[in-house]
Symmetry: D2
Subunit: 342 residues, 4 copies
């Protein structure tokens, strides 16, 4: 076996999918699957769907134990706690892949502004690699610390980046309307009942309009301001993002935007570019590590419409995290990620 792996925050959705993937990953050995609330229990006792699929006993959250026993640790807690784990683990020579938002923004002031917290280890930000694998593969190969992208930014940036580059200097504005499944809101019941069944089922609503904390990482990667409107849809998993790139008046893109995407991502194992944007749908990549893309130029209004879809728990979280581990550890990038992952 290649690496000994630890997971912090194992019983959230991201943690659960890390277990699902890594339990079948031929190069990973799960040595330390931590849960603050369920230490000592079988993972399948807490998450009954895992019965017969994984054989994992949960352990307590102990950073020193992780530092001693693991080669790679995934931190998957919705909180600032990853800022406590990362420095200790890195000091011990452990590679860290953080699924939270703590290491995504290069500018600690931006972190404070958008997240409302003070960063306690800003000295790590310069070396943290933004883990959008398709864009930062080379940097990831030698990274000690990967900041796994947010679910929304993954779909938005993968769709927008090649086209923004192609049309550089001619873009006036970018809007992103993204509809997400409710697992994006996490497993902990929200105070306002936002992830209750009756609140979300057969419903659709925007939230955090213009203020969602995934906004700055999209802007950081694109080098361009975006208006981002996340929406909660009546789905369990999946994000469909509709992006509008408003072009300068009279500017006509030199190439079909779908062809630009297809060329840019030719050979990428986890990107599918569809000719018909209508074939890109939230359900399409569900259960896989794919990000699906399509684009069309609306000549009447001078707008390039880009549509992307992914499974927010896989390419949007745990799948991409393992993809990054594969790159960081020198494994084949697709190891453990082919086909269906649950």
């Amino acid at each position: 076996v290649g690496v000994k792996v630890g997971i912090v925050g194992s019983t959230g959705y991201a943690g659960e999918f890390l277990i699902r993937i890594l339990a079948r990953h031929p190069e990973a050995e799960l040595v330390c699957v931590c849960s603050a609330h369920a230490a000592g229990r079988d993972a399948a006792a807490v998450l009954p769907a895992l019965k017969g699929l994984v054989d994992v006993t949960l352990c307590g959250e102990d950073v020193d134990h992780l530092a001693r026993t693991c080669d790679v640790v995934f931190t998957a807690k919705k909180s600032v706690e990853s800022m406590q784990y990362a420095p200790v683990l890195l000091d011990a020579g452990v590679k860290v892949i953080d699924i939270g938002g703590e290491f995504r923004l290069k500018d600690p002031a931006a972190y404070e502004k958008w997240y409302g917290n003070t960063h306690t280890c800003p000295e790590l930000l310069p070396e943290a690699v933004y883990g959008l694998t398709e864009l930062h593969r080379d940097a990831l190969r030698s990274a000690r610390l990967a900041a796994n992208p947010g679910c929304y930014p993954t779909g938005a940036i993968l769709g927008l980046a090649p086209l923004m580059e192609e049309m550089r200097g001619h873009v006036r504005a970018v809007t992103i309307c993204a509809s997400s499944g409710v697992s994006g809101a996490g497993r902990t019941p929200s105070k306002e009942g936002r992830n209750l069944f009756v609140s979300c089922f057969n419903n659709h609503a925007a939230y955090g309009v213009g203020t969602h904390k995934h906004t700055p990482e999209i802007e950081q990667e694109l080098g361009f301001p975006v208006t981002f409107v996340p929406q909660l849809a009546s789905m369990d998993r999946g994000i469909l993002s509709v992006m509008a790139i408003h072009l300068e008046e009279g500017y006509v893109p030199p190439r079909d935007p779908g062809a630009v995407l297809a060329e840019r991502y030719a050979g990428e194992p986890f990107i599918r570019v569809y000719e018909r944007v209508g074939d890109v749908c939230a359900a399409g990549p569900r259960g896989t590590n794919f990000c699906d893309l399509g684009a069309v130029f609306v000549e009447r209004t001078g707008v390039v419409c880009v549509v992307s879809a992914l499974d927010n728990l896989l390419k949007g979280a745990s799948g991409q995290a393992v993809q990054n581990m594969n790159v960081m550890c020198g494994f084949d990038e697709c190891t453990g990620l082919e086909g269906f992952l649950g």
Copy 2:
């Protein structure tokens, strides 16, 4: 009783909701509820949920019979047939409210371009009143022919029109991302399976990007080009529209956009303006004739985000059609439309 009413196309979703509303409308008598396929049967035999709620026998589709017996006829067929009904009915002095798209566009060439049909009675287009009640109430009072707006345009225009007017001359571009329940695709199974359960459930996809035929009526009413991206959501009814009004660089709207909407629609019985855009949701107005609105200015990017919600079968179709009937016939506008309509 005030008026004798006919319905053409009674067993589609729009027709069903016309029956639901009109069967309890104190000023309407349903004299001629036509169905090509179920003439002679009780409506409740065809639509079991109506049992005990309506007592209506369906009759055949006979334009002469409608012309002789009705004061008002609703044409609710997804087809060009309303162009055959309208001239005959109007000649006989019957008021016509068309729920299809045939009389919405003033320009017959635009109709041909977007709908792919030749208009067979373009002479009626000048007098047809676009039945967005809140915008054209005065013209509707004396109208013989009302073109009931599309479901998407109703929510989009109600949200955009007052703000476009307020910011006239400072708007650079408008995009509309609208997520619709599947009843918008009609009751007839589509060839591509687009309204099948398994295709739509737990899914979300854009379609008709930049080419949807509701686009031109939005542009006609706003006097401004729009990029319109309709999306099919995992809901049965309801549309949530997210609109981005891109403003000139540096331009700051003089007033809060939510306040503009609240002022414009003060006193409107079927418009609810919410202070928090997050309170506007597809489920909110379901079963009612309300259109819910909210708006916020995203200063960072110079974009006004407007969110609207409505029930596509009520304010987006049959509810608004009855609202128009009330205005055209001189009844209280709210008659038969208060509270919940099914």
Copy 3:
């Protein structure tokens, strides 16, 4: 106006639907809509969908104030608190309609066994009328205290009672499989996440097999033991109950079971009996106070299958509670309950 009405527990689902119905009820004046958490706020500020539909300010929970100001009080709290309210209110001459389970069982020992609580006012149990209106209408006319039935028992008993009576002495066993929308689990997030979106969506599971506390009230009303298997379905509202009445070997019911139901409920305003059991569906009565019924005899196995459907928040809770109020106060039984209720 006929009666001054109070509601305890206003912001749960049952309370919300009481507000929706009673705000439009011509004989009721909402004088005291209590909420422990939101006193002083508009109901529509807490429940945004009520905006424009009701004009109600919430007040604190004060039993003495309720006793002084109300003619009728609905207690709609999931707890034992109704046992504290009822004696005080009844002493003050206020009629009480309890939507909880505290007054449904005649036998205080059965209450303790199934509910796990000690009954603190067992002296009220003899006079409490089980508020299944169609079965106990006469007793309700003079009742001071009505125990509104559970959502499951309403559908089960209405379907079973006439057939059990018809086949008295020939029934060997009764099983009830009922699939409920998630609103039945209440608005408070459950510790095990049972009413979270991701847990319930696209899922179906049995719970409380053989132990659900609605079991004894069904047995009390039928005078027969039943095996009751409640199930949580991927719906927001509605219950579909499938009941199997196992008959003695060789016994053939003298009449068609559907005809028995139709005859028994002829003239009942809120019961719809369908000839085809397949027409009885959870969505059919949604938004109304109807209970839909159908039945068929499966000769091969000697089983009468009965299917019932209702909206768990209306006929299964708040709608029936208002129906009971109408009876108890001498109003027309249908007042405020016709058509669609939200």
Copy 4:
């Protein structure tokens, strides 16, 4: 590679899942994936979600070509056509696994009665092995023709058979209430709109009460009459079956029914027995070839309640079909079926 495989009826749901599984099956080579409507096209062009997962070109339906090129053929058409394929293929030495209902019943008269068709090759019925792998593994090893069980029967029989045997002579009656996802109704739009989104979403209804054609194969395997009530649930995939075994009065099962199931299926790779019946849920085995089981004895009423769950397209159709192929061809039974299958 072990065997050359053909599929007839490739673009229905069962065919699609056969493609998904077999395209990654290390012992199978897909040589002939037939589609009457899409011959010559890539499977991924017809089923866009398969892009990047399978590389299969569809071919026409030609029984002689199948006979010449295949070692094993799956017939997955909803029709009587498999009766035309099977004799020709078997004559040519090809193993046949039929996913339709044509070869499940030993008695051709029962087939005619329940299916309404005349059987055209009754001479094959004696040798057809009912492909419930866990019950007929030995016979399957040497079978030329396997009749893959229906989706409902798979879950019902696996749950009931060991308990019926354990309690043999003491069972008075068996009822089965099963709630199925809508993919069970197939991809072809039904005339009555039964698989339309709006008809099924947020709904639940029984159908075919006492007359469903899956009934006789359950009775054939159990040797006992059952009352079977299938129900359509608001899910895309999955079946949850609730079975009630009514025992003789006073009879108490000697062992806990959950323990009986656990013992019977110890070592079975695709059966999971849960201690808590509430952990058995439709979503649990989704995407896998598992059938989940749980059982409890309700002493009060003398009923054993058994709950089973499976994915109707996997263990209930294509997964089990491949499991049968593995047994029939001498491969490890789990080949290609471990983990998640889509």
